[in-house]
Every structure is written in C-alpha cells, then in structure tokens.
C-alpha cells in the first residue's frame, strides 16, 4: 500500500500494464512530450518511446477510429481524449463502430480498446469544457462504462479495463486527480459490476459515483449528526451496473437518493430510479430522489456554476424530503 494521488494511481496502472503486455500502447493529444493535459501519462514517453506513447494531432474522430481499427488488428490501444467534451467529435466512431462491431459481425470481431477521458465541472471552464457525459455512453449497448472515485479504484479498474474484450469508456473526474488515497502496490484488479458500500446505514441509501461520492460521504456525515443513518454506495462502473447491491440496500432502508454530476434529465440517476421502481417498488417508502446538475449549459460565473452543481447541502435537502 502507498498513499498516492488518483493521477499517480492511473500513471502506475499504465506503467504496469505497458510492462505486462506489449500489445498495449497509448495515443492521444499531448500524451507524450507534454505528459498529458492532466499529466496522467507523465514520464511514460521517456520509458516506452514514441512507438507506445504516441502524440496525435487534434483529430478525435480519426485517432479514436484508428484505435478501434488497431484493436481489431490485435493490439490493445489506450486512447486518451484530452477531455470528454472533445470525445463528442469521436462519438460516431464510438457509437457506430466500437459499440457495434462485435455484435454486428456476429461475434467475429473484437474491439478491446480503452478510451480514457477526463470529465466534470467545477473549474469555471464554461459550457463547452464542463460536461459529464457518462449517460451518453451508458445509453449505448456494447460499451463498458467505468467511472472511478478513489485512487485505488482508478488503478484497479484501469488494470481490469485492459483485460477486457469489450470497448471500455473510462471516465476520470478532473477534480479528483489530486485526491490522495491508499493504493495497493503491484497487481490490483477491481472487478467491473461490483459496487462498493463505503458506509453502512439503515435509514437511507445514497447511490453515487465519481466525484459526487465525496459530496455524498460529506452529506452522510452531516446526516448522521442530524440523526439519519445513511448508507453510501459507490457504483464504480455504470455498465455493467451493480443494481443488486443497491437493491439490497434499499430493501433495508426503503429510501434512495441518486447523486451524480451529469445533467438531471436522462442521466444515470433516471436509469437507476427506473430500475428501483421496477425491482423494488414494494420496498420503497418514498420516491427515489435525484440530486444532479441543473439542466442548463454550465455557466462561467463562479456563483452560478456552484449553484448549478449538486452539493452536500442539496443531498441533505433531498434527504429531508423523504426521511
């Protein structure tokens, strides 16, 4: 175990995987000489050379598509999108090719690609640089969607991603890179589809992922002071989605709030709430609440941005409505 940041944990996973499997290589904008826009790939070029750490032009559609082709050709590409916002330019390749190739060709082709993308708001970067697009990918069958909150999960899920046969969308939150935590040294694999119960409680289930996990834990602490014992679940992957762990919890608490930084409408919270209504209707004592980002493009102004984003206070208000 060592105390390292989310960024360092990712970097460590990349090194270990590049060492483990010759077929793995990294490509994307500024991943080499610049060390990555968020410094996740820092130092890798010096060790692995240009063949395995490749700077690309600003051509998202093409380098994501090339990654898909390389995966079909037997390699295991890690494609870094500088941020998920630019991944929209590659959405055609991701949705129409990566997600479909295995199925559409009768299972005869495979696309074992890992597409890493930082995302998230909170830094006043304006509407075009502050999005959380996990719901876009979660919506599309054929993609695995991974969204770690902790440094240990960042490492363990990335290593697992590189052992998958399906395309993986790996979403990192820009506000988490500096977060420190205990990370197991060496081989550390976190399975997909296994949510993590971070805190046990009997009164209320708080379901979250990515950066909102921290807001949720803070709210749970506050709720405890107010006499409400909340359980906190970090989903870790959205596809596969570990609804069983959530169901188990809701059967106990009878109440659930889904907390996420995507837009409220049509977000991951909508899917989770719908599934809870389908599968746990009799256990629910109150409507499932969603605490998410307001349905607006992200404003630049600091105060407005803060108001648009979900906060621990919003979680507490939601809890007060249903407990």
């Amino acid at each position: 175990m060592s105390q390292i940041t989310y960024r360092e944990a990712l970097n460590q996973a990349l090194r270990e995987e590049l060492d483990r499997d010759e077929r793995i290589f990294i490509m994307g904008e500024e991943v080499g000489y610049f060390g990555g826009a968020f410094k996740v790939t820092d130092g890798l070029l010096a060790i692995y050379g240009e063949k395995r750490v490749r700077d690309t032009p600003i051509s998202e559609l093409t380098f994501v598509g090339a990654g898909i082709g390389a995966a079909m050709g037997g390699l295991r590409p890690i494609v870094e999108l500088m941020t998920v916002n630019f991944g929209l330019l590659a959405l055609d390749q991701i949705v129409n090719n990566a997600a479909k190739i295995h199925y559409m060709f009768g299972g005869k082709a495979k696309v074992p690609i890992v597409i890493r993308a930082p995302q998230g708001a909170g830094h006043q970067l304006g509407a075009q640089h502050s999005q959380n697009l996990e719901a876009y990918f979660m919506h599309c069958p054929g993609l695995r969607v991974v969204i770690p909150a902790t440094p240990a999960d960042a490492k363990g899920l990335l290593k697992t991603a590189l052992r998958q046969e399906d395309p993986v969308i790996f979403l990192e939150h820009e506000s988490l890179y500096h977060v420190k935590g205990e990370v197991p040294d060496g081989e550390h694999l976190v399975p997909f589809g296994k949510a993590n119960v971070l805190r046990e409680g009997k009164d209320l289930t708080l379901v979250s992922y990515s950066k909102c996990v921290y807001d949720t834990l803070a709210a749970a602490q506050e709720l405890e002071n107010m006499g409400t014992d909340a359980e906190v679940i970090d989903l870790r992957t959205l596809n596969p989605l570990d609804l069983d762990t959530v169901l188990e919890s809701v059967k106990k608490t009878g109440k659930a709030i889904v907390v996420y930084e995507g837009w409220r409408t049509g977000g991951a919270g909508a899917e989770i709430a719908a599934q809870l209504y389908e599968k746990a209707f009799d256990h629910l004592d109150a409507p499932v609440e969603r605490v998410a980002t307001m349905d607006t493009p992200m404003p630049y102004n600091a105060r407005l941005e803060k108001a648009a984003l979900p906060s621990p206070a919003d979680i507490i208000s939601a809890a007060e409505r249903i407990v």
């Binding site: 904008e29 600003i58 006043q124 493009p297 105060r303 407005l304 648009a308």
Partner: protein, 334 residues
Amino acid sequence: MALERDKHVAQHALLTLDEAQLLAMYRKMSLIRRFEEKSAEMYTRGKITGFCHLYAGEEAVAVGAIEALYDKDYVVSTYREHGHCLAKGADPRAVMAELFGKATGISHGRGGSMHLFDPDIRFMGGYAIVGGGLPLAVGLGLSIAYKEEPEVACCFFGDGALPQGAFHESLNLASLWKLPVIFICENNFYGMGTLVQNAICQEELYRFAEPYKMPGVRVDGMDVLDVYRAVTEAAARAREGDGPSLIEAVTYRFRGHSMSDPVEYRSKREERIWQERDPIKNLRRRLLAEKRVSEARLDQIDAEVGAVIDDAVKFADESPEPPLEELAKNVYVE
C-alpha cells in the same frame, strides 16, 4: 492553384493607406496588447478564472484582417478571441466584464474568456472546440449567399484545426457552393505544446487551398498591412461571388497556450527572435521611418488605450454578479 503573393505591393502598402486608417490599426493593436497584459495581471490576481488564452503577439492578424472587412461582415473565432472581438469593435468594458464573469459582460457572465459574442457588431462568437467554428462560418456564408447580400463571413482558427475533419469538410463545402467565406488560419507554430510539423503532413498550410480549389496565400502575420492586403483581396473576391479563400497568417503567441501553461516546449531564444518582430513595434517603426506620424502622437495613442483598459477593469470590477435567480434563464427561448 496557390496565389503568389505580390511582395512589391505589400511592401508599399503603407503608402496606399491614409494616415487615419494607419493610426486606427495602430490604436487597435495597442488596445488589444494592453487588454491582454491587463487580463494576465487580473488572472494572476484571481479576478479572472477558468481558462484564459491570450493573443499578445498575434494582434496584426485580427486587426489587419478585420480592418479589411465591412462592419456588417461576420467574424467567427476560437477560444483565443479577445483580439478579434475587440478588433471587430466590442466595448472593452463588456469584454473585460465577461472575463470577470459579471452580469454586464458581453455574454452576461455565462461565457467567460472563451465565449464572447456580440451580434450587434457581427462578432459571432468564440468557440472552444478546436475546428468547431469553421462549419458555422460556412453556414453564415450560406445565409449571405442565400439572401444575396454583399457581406462575407471571416473565420479565424489555429494551425491545430487543420487536422480536424471539420476544416476539410468546411473548405470543401464553401468551395463547392462558392460561399463568401474567408478562412484565416493563424499559424503560430504550436497547438498547445505540439509543433505544427508534428500535427500535419503539409506544413505549408495555405496549400490546403489547392485541393479545395480556392486561392491560398501565406502572409506575414506580424505585419498588419500584409494581412490587410490579403484579406482585402479575399473579401473582394468573395463579394463578387467567386467563393472562399484560405489565408495562412504566420504569427507567434508571445505567452503560453493559456495562463496555466509554463511553456516548457520552446526555447527562450526562439521567443526572443519573435519578440523582435513584435507587430506593434513593427508598425510603429515603419510609421516613424516614413515620417507619417510623430512619436508623440503614437505615445499619446498608447496612453489613451491604457486609460481605456484601466477604465474597463474598473468597470468590470465594480459590476454586479449575475443574479442567482437567473441561473436557468435562456436555456430555452422564453
């Protein structure tokens, strides 16, 4: 076919412009430089936040090009657009207030440094997705052609946009439909830390005009008059219904990619060489050499723009925040 630049005419361009026009260009470049210097200072002081990409060093491109346009011509730009917006005639107060995120900002505090917009001066926006503005300019060109109006749409973008499909698709469509669009590529040699030759197979960027069957020229982007001349020609062509042009303006950004870039990928020597070609000093030198104006007059202009920018900062600082109740306003047209 690439259009050969007429060096002789360019060198004598000074003579063909009247003093008022030359001074107007000098004033605008000086205004932009001062604006950017102040922006850097205000960023360091925490008054401006988020991403902030400065235009210092590249002023001759925006000013030379926009000076060659009519007021009603459209301009589309990138996230490095303070200069284009000011050159098009935006009120420095409104631009600075936007950088401060204030209600009085040109986008009412919703856009920030990267998303300035003012339809009154036909500044049609700064866009932060590389290549994202080009199709918009094609569409504006289409609207002009459709309505048989005399305007043109002028689109600025960096060298980093050339590997994007949007660049190639936009040039093709504009040419195919003979739209009045002027594509101006600001080749400052870098897209963030990536050298242009590491991003695109053809370093002579203007030559991408050739396959798309439009004139392509490379101009000295540190020389406001060279830019002015090329854009004048391209605009005349577009207005006559002869379609789009591609202009590559070779320039240099004096500062980092954004305020958070420590600029570790280029040498101090390279920076010094380009600083000696400072477009503002360049014009000043030539105006004085040709005895077109006195040094005192230029100093006076510098002092005047200094005061304008100080006033803009004061205005931005004293302006109110956008009201919280209006957070969800304008998501849809009400």
